[in-house]
């Protein structure tokens, strides 16, 4: 027998793990048997068959001859796009509202309170549908488009922006993108004792130059028939979903920000003030950097929620992964179990990556205690 408690614990855990694996195996076998009973076959081969349907909004090229695998990629990118936009907007808005909540001004403070309470206490789906129809009702039909200087059109079908067509197969665009991404890293580089610092700003300037050099022509949107053709369309569905996701999350983030700021010892605040710092520098240089440490773990879970909630876009016709893959593809390919497994796996992967990143960031900003 195993006498040592530590080893006993090990054995127990192993037995539990084996039981879990056996249970999962049993479930999978039952699934396979039941599917076979209904003359259905489990497999992911369908990803290679052609899709034959249109996806209204896509970041990479999509034609009806592409296969289900590419449909997965297209809809995944749509999900990632709205999630990323949502996270950025929710953080900025949440930070603003959270700081407003602590304002000494009665009106600002209570405006923030009303915003937080009304947003937090209504269902998110209702909010998204509200924003969708609010956006649609507010905008004119295509023929009465609002013309924005610079060749932009705004109507109920969306915002039409000029399309920049790059020559050389987009090589310049890629170089410009790399230059932009490299900028913050270059900023931190050191040569000997000298930091590169502001010199790194040369990179974005180069990127702009590259873009200008690589542009073949600019395609402006124009009104033809009963629609606007040419240019890139930013659909109102994306805007509505973006608003719905970020406003909802921002209310929670605002509360996180407020509680984190309040959790910073008052002495820090007072000490900074006694040094002669004004209100804004006190907040941004002394209090917020310390508050971030408290915020990060809670922010992580808000971000994960936001990513998951992006599936609500199916209600307002935004072609995200749940609608396209667990809707159209599921129905077209008759692969219910497989499509749902794929969608779940994709969300698991996105969220694990997001939380891994946030954990890394958390470790970086956390106080190192000795």
């Amino acid at each position: 027998m195993v006498r040592r408690p530590s080893r006993r614990a090990y054995v127990g855990q192993w037995i539990f793990l084996l039981a879990v694996i056996a249970g999962a195996g049993l479930l999978l076998r039952m699934l396979a048997e039941n599917l076979a009973l209904r003359n259905m076959h489990f497999g992911f081969g369908f990803l290679a068959s052609p899709a034959h349907f249109d996806i209204p909004f896509h970041l990479i090229s999509w034609s009806i001859f592409d296969n289900y695998g590419r449909a997965l990629l297209v809809s995944l990118l749509n999900t990632l796009l709205v999630s990323a936009m949502g996270i950025v907007a929710a953080t900025l808005l949440g930070l603003t509202v959270g700081i407003m909540r602590l304002s000494v001004n009665w009106l600002i403070r209570n405006l923030a309170l009303v915003f937080i309470e009304s947003v937090r206490n209504t269902p998110q789906l209702v909010q998204i549908i509200f924003w969708y129809f609010a956006v649609l009702q507010a905008l004119p039909p295509p023929r009465g488009s609002i013309v924005i200087p610079g060749g932009l059109f705004l109507n109920v079908r969306g915002l039409y922006v000029p399309d920049v067509i790059m020559s050389e197969g987009g090589l310049f665009a890629w170089l410009a993108a790399i230059a932009l991404v490299a900028t913050p890293f270059a900023w931190r580089l050191k040569f000997g004792a000298k930091r590169v610092g502001p010199w790194a700003l040369l990179l974005p300037i180069c990127a702009a130059g590259l873009l200008a050099a690589g542009t073949e022509r600019i395609e402006f949107p124009k009104l033809t028939g009963f629609n606007i053709t040419g240019g890139t369309q930013v659909p109102p569905e994306l805007v509505a979903l973006w608003a719905g996701l970020s406003i909802y999350s921002s209310a929670f983030i605002a509360e996180i920000v407020r509680s984190a700021i309040e959790a910073v010892p008052k002495g820090q605040h007072e000490a900074a003030q006694s040094m002669g710092l004004r209100r804004a520098p006190v907040l941004f240089l002394i209090v917020l950097p310390q508050a971030i440490r408290i915020m990060v773990p809670q922010l992580t879970s808000q971000y994960l929620n936001l990513i998951k909630s992006s599936t609500l876009g199916a209600a307002v016709a935004y072609p995200e992964i749940f609608q396209i893959f667990a809707g159209t593809v599921m129905n077209q390919a008759n692969k219910e179990v497989e499509t749902i497994i794929i969608v779940m796996a994709v969300f698991l992967a996105i969220n694990l990556l997001a939380s891994a990143f946030m954990n890394w960031y958390n470790e970086r900003v956390a106080l190192v205690e000795r």
């Binding site: 009973l37 209904r38 259905m40 034959h52 349907f53 079908r157 028939g225 053709t229 129905n331 219910e336």
Partner: protein
């Protein structure tokens, strides 16, 4: 002499015994074996999968009672099996889950304006007993667009429900005619209608019957026009599970009974009178006064009488849910074969 007589009797007895055995065997063959039918009889209730709510096919009226053509079929099936059209539990199913619900055995039959297709018959392992509504994908567009044909919809945006065969049809039609019709995919009709109303899309598409229903749901139906073309075949009908052949056969013949009633001119109103007076052998067989068609199917012999008595024939139901006073959809393909339509019952023989 006595011996010979005895011998003859023994022979006769043996022969009789053989016949008895043979006929007994034949009787055993006639007995209908169907797990679903047995389950419904034992439960005393039919569980019928219908649409969550669409005018014409399945919807709840102001009193919360289910109405519609598909609902009439559920009632007819319950009348045939249980003798009472009220003994039905309706399960509203969305287009996404409808087949899973049927496969898992939660419902006995799915009658939910669902298109019959090859892949649903094979890959999903479902049986497609009967088509109760012949239609095709139809378009409804704003009158102000001045569009008369589907081919003129190049560049237009159309609101569609996701999880259906419609998206595929539009893409195929566009490819065949070298035009591009943009689609906007909605989960539920309410949002799709509202988006169309707000002008986000130029029109709405669905099966012919549903489009007529949608038009009636718009704020101002006169602003919308239904284009004459049907760009696909959408033959809607009932679904059952494979592996229960006899149940599928019953579902199929309940559909034929609704049609045969119309062929013979038997309606909900005159069925009792005809039953009392008729001498026509075909009608007598249909109403269960002669023959044993019901036994072959595993139900009472007067099953057709019960169907017509409780829900009426096919034509009556079409009139009630799609006729001039309802959705005003011409009968077209759903006319009887004798009047140039596609609805044709097989003979009662």
């Amino acid at each position: 002499m006595i011996r010979q007589v005895a011998k003859a009797f023994t022979c006769l007895a043996a022969l009789a015994g053989l016949f008895a055995l043979g006929s007994g065997g034949a009787l055993a063959q006639n007995e209908v074996k169907s797990p679903t039918l047995d389950a419904v009889k034992k439960r005393g209730q039919l569980i019928c999968g219908v649409d969550t709510g669409i005018p014409g096919f399945a919807f709840q009226d102001s009193a919360g009672k289910w109405q519609g053509l598909d609902v009439a079929y559920c009632r007819a099936l319950a009348a045939a099996v249980l003798g009472d059209p009220e003994k039905v539990k309706y399960v509203g199913t969305t287009s996404k889950v409808r087949f899973s619900v049927l496969q898992s055995g939660e419902i006995d039959v799915l009658i939910r304006d669902s298109t019959h297709t090859l892949t649903r018959n094979t890959e999903l392992g479902l049986a497609e007993p009967a088509v109760n509504f012949f239609t095709g994908e139809s378009f409804m567009v704003r009158k102000a667009l001045n569009v008369a044909h589907v081919k003129e919809l190049n560049g237009a945006t159309i609101c569609v429900l996701t999880g259906t065969t419609l998206e595929l049809n539009i893409a195929d039609f566009g490819r065949a005619n070298n035009i591009k019709i943009n689609t906007l995919l909605f989960e539920k009709p309410e949002e799709a209608f509202a988006a169309a109303e707000a002008g986000r899309c130029d029109g709405y598409t669905d099966d012919g019957g549903s489009v007529a229903a949608s038009r009636s749901a718009m704020k101002n139906p006169a602003d919308w026009v239904i284009l004459p073309e049907l760009i696909s075949r959408e033959f809607l009908g009932s679904y059952t599970r494979q592996g229960d052949e006899r149940w599928s056969i019953l579902v199929k013949w309940v559909h034929y009974a609704m049609l045969e009633g119309e062929v013979l001119g038997i309606t909900k109103a005159n069925v009792d009178q005809i039953k009392g007076e008729t001498k026509d052998p075909e009608t007598r067989g249909f109403l269960g006064l002669e023959g044993n068609f019901g036994k072959f199917l595993g139900v009472d012999n007067d099953w057709c009488y019960k169907i017509i008595k409780s829900v009426g024939n096919y034509g009556e139901n079409y009139e009630m849910y799609f006729g001039p006073n309802a959705l005003a959809l011409p009968r077209g393909w759903n006319e009887l074969y004798t009047k140039g339509g596609l609805q044709a019952p097989l003979p009662w023989r």
